[in-house]
């Protein structure tokens, strides 16, 4: 197979990635109010990384993002567990959430909500899991 350059894609990807990641972060934070949430946000982020993988290759991306995705999964789980188990410290049932509303400019209504932290755990797990799967299979091929 002849080598081809990928100049157009590689150039465009820089902007597009920004878009996609922004969107995924948005969709993650907005989850409590609009459709979305940690799960779908995580998948979108993973999508962005996949786009990177397609454009470049596993090695390059590893240099770019030196993340062990299995550890990321574990961290995500720790986040979720930690948030839920935090309520044990206050002697209320497991997973009890607390919240307070904050209005931020630009992003609109954002609540400081322990549920968001929980959702962040979900987010990390989903990114970690999806990337583990894709990377593992990709490396095997």
């Amino acid at each position: 197979m002849r080598k081809t350059n990928n100049l157009i894609l590689e150039t465009a990807i820089k902007v597009l990635l920004f878009f996609i990641v922004l969107y995924s972060v948005y969709i993650f934070t907005a989850g409590h109010y609009y459709p979305g949430g940690g799960f779908i946000g995580g998948l979108m982020t993973a999508g962005a990384i996949v786009l990177l993988l397609i454009t470049y290759d596993i090695k390059t991306v590893e240099e770019l993002l030196p993340v062990n995705y299995r550890i990321l999964t574990a961290i995500g789980l720790l986040f979720a567990i930690g948030t839920s188990a935090g309520s044990l410290l206050f002697n209320v049932p497991f997973l009890t959430h607390a919240f307070g509303d904050v209005h931020l400019p630009l992003l609109g209504e954002l609540s400081l909500h322990t549920a968001t932290l929980f959702d962040l755990g979900v987010y990390f797990v989903v990114v970690g899991v999806t990337m583990t799967i894709i990377q593992t299979i990709g490396e095997d091929e």
């Binding site: 157009i8 597009l16 969107y23």
Partner: protein, 122 residues
Amino acid sequence: MSVIIDFFIGFFILVGSLFCLIATIGVIRLPDVYTRNHAASKAATLGVMSILLGTFLYFYALEGHFNSRLILGIVFLFMTSPISGHLINRAAYNSGVKLWDKSVRDDLKEYNKKVLEKSSVD
């Protein structure tokens, strides 16, 4: 005021969908990959962008809902569809899909040949 808005909304949407339709006709009728791709990536994208614009207007005007994602979507589509069109075409070409037999020019072929000769000389 609202009539005008309504008109614009309707216009964008209808025109957009017509574009889509036409693009499809193109995809069906045109003779080879490259021409079909042309129809799809240009016309369809324009059509969809127009529809999105109409939708954006609809929600903005009738409900006062400024939806940033729609704008984002329009921009995104605007950016990606040429790239994807390009990629597919190049892939098709490189994987050896034949041009329409009535095609008149194939610059890339000549270029490739040149490169090939050059590399063989080296």
